[in-house]
Symmetry: C2
Subunit: 269 residues, 2 copies
């Protein structure tokens, strides 16, 4: 990366290799629930366009709080978003039926959020990943351990998931491991657990991607923004190459660009 | 670390395990040269007290630009600083004679900045480290390679320095390895070289300390502050536990506290 390139990155504020999923179309966020219930096209499209403009690579769509109408609302969200932006969606749902309906209307290569090592979840979602050749976010939890507080258990679950997904025909480049960020306020080692999980899996599978929400780390603490963007930089050092966040958060995005420059990450390499 | 502790750290803005050397008493900085030439006690003491208040563990004293009078000026700086602050000094000089004069008047356990793998420098400085049982900053450079752009060479130089210093009776806890931060604008891999050097040496010698200036990494680039504090977080993830900086830089200090909380660093452990 030349000085010209770094300078351009700064002046344009554009990140390079980090995969950003824009998190704002989620019915748990203020205003979005009403917009989805009322099928408010303008409201949703504005959120989608704004996130694309700010550098999102995927637009997350999540209406999981509208349990009874998710099967109709999720494909409506996908269509509404893709009418105005050229980016694929990250389809975020606990409901395989809603997931299938959304994938059916999605254009391009979607990302499915998520699969786990839980047997029933795995069996419901993998056929969709294969049918639509989508990316798949894989959470490091399973039936035996739930969300373990032991990094070694999370690492083993992640490795098993990658190996099984590979065996089921999913290429490694389509897998996004979620290390499951938890609050350091409940257990002070939770930052380390996530960082160790990322590091170990990245070392064993250099081509796998990562995807996670960061803000959970600071739950219950003061200065959450500071903790969140500091943790993002620590995670990038560990090997994280994707995150679900608000791309309108300029401080967060600036630190991503800075960390990419310092870590010599460059799409042209 | 409990939530109470994290919260307290934030509210008080106090870092915990990171070793901070306050960089501001340096004759290459504006106003300081004149203050030293004029033996302006108030000017120097104000800088020292301000840095102590802001969290410095050591007060750096450097009058290397005043070549002809360093032998008198350096001990004057040490005495002037220690009249008003309880912290030890980091005595920063290319001149062994000035170093010896400064150590002679220093109270407590000083830090000497610096030794290198260069034979003549090593032989001049080690007797002082032993005599005064001071800490010693050891730069990862030597006669054969100068400042290498190859992390493996820097790692080897660092390891050799640690082994030799140990053999000469300097305990590992008194050694502060300087990975030599260089600008990413001249060579885009310079961030990685420093990070890899820290990581490898920390892994082999968990008890060794680190010390370095950070701001060089952003030389010649826009948004230097952003690059500097992002790099600090990356370095802390690699294992860095000390830095020479302006402790009055609140953004930098806040990120140190945040990274310590996220990495579960705690003096009480």
């Amino acid at each position: 990366m030349l000085i010209q390139k770094i300078t351009k990155l700064y002046l344009k504020g554009e990140k390079d290799t980090m995969i950003i999923v824009g998190e704002k179309i989620n019915t748990s966020l203020k205003g979005v629930k009403e917009a989805v219930i009322n099928r408010d096209v303008d409201f949703i499209q504005k959120l989608a366009m704004e996130q694309e403009k700010n550098g999102a690579d995927y637009i997350d769509v999540n209406c999981g709080t509208l349990i009874n109408e998710e099967v109709e609302a999720l494909p409506w969200l996908v269509k509404t978003v893709q009418q105005v932006v050229d980016k694929p969606c990250c389809i975020d749902s606990p409901n395989p039926e809603a997931m299938a309906a959304a994938l059916k209307v999605h254009k391009g290569k979607a990302m499915i959020n998520s699969i786990t090592g839980e047997e029933s979840r795995y069996e419901q979602i993998v056929p969709l990943v294969k049918e639509y050749k989508s990316g798949i976010v894989a959470l490091t939890m399973d039936d035996d351990s739930g969300i373990s507080e032991d990094a070694n258990i999370r690492i083993t679950i992640g490795e098993k998931l990658i190996d099984r997904l590979n065996k089921d025909g999913i290429p490694i480049e389509d897998i996004y491991i979620d290390p499951l960020i938890q609050p350091i306020s409940t257990s002070s080692n939770m930052g380390i657990v996530a960082l160790d999980t990322i590091k170990a899996i990245k070392e064993k599978y250099p081509k796998v991607h990562f995807m996670c929400g960061l803000s959970n780390v600071s739950f219950g603490l003061p200065k959450r923004g500071l903790l969140n963007y500091t943790f993002l930089v620590l995670c990038m050092m560990a090997g994280l190459d994707g995150a679900i966040l608000d791309p309108g958060n300029r401080q967060m995005m600036a630190m991503i660009v800075a960390a990419e420059a310092l870590l010599n990450k460059d799409n042209s390499q």
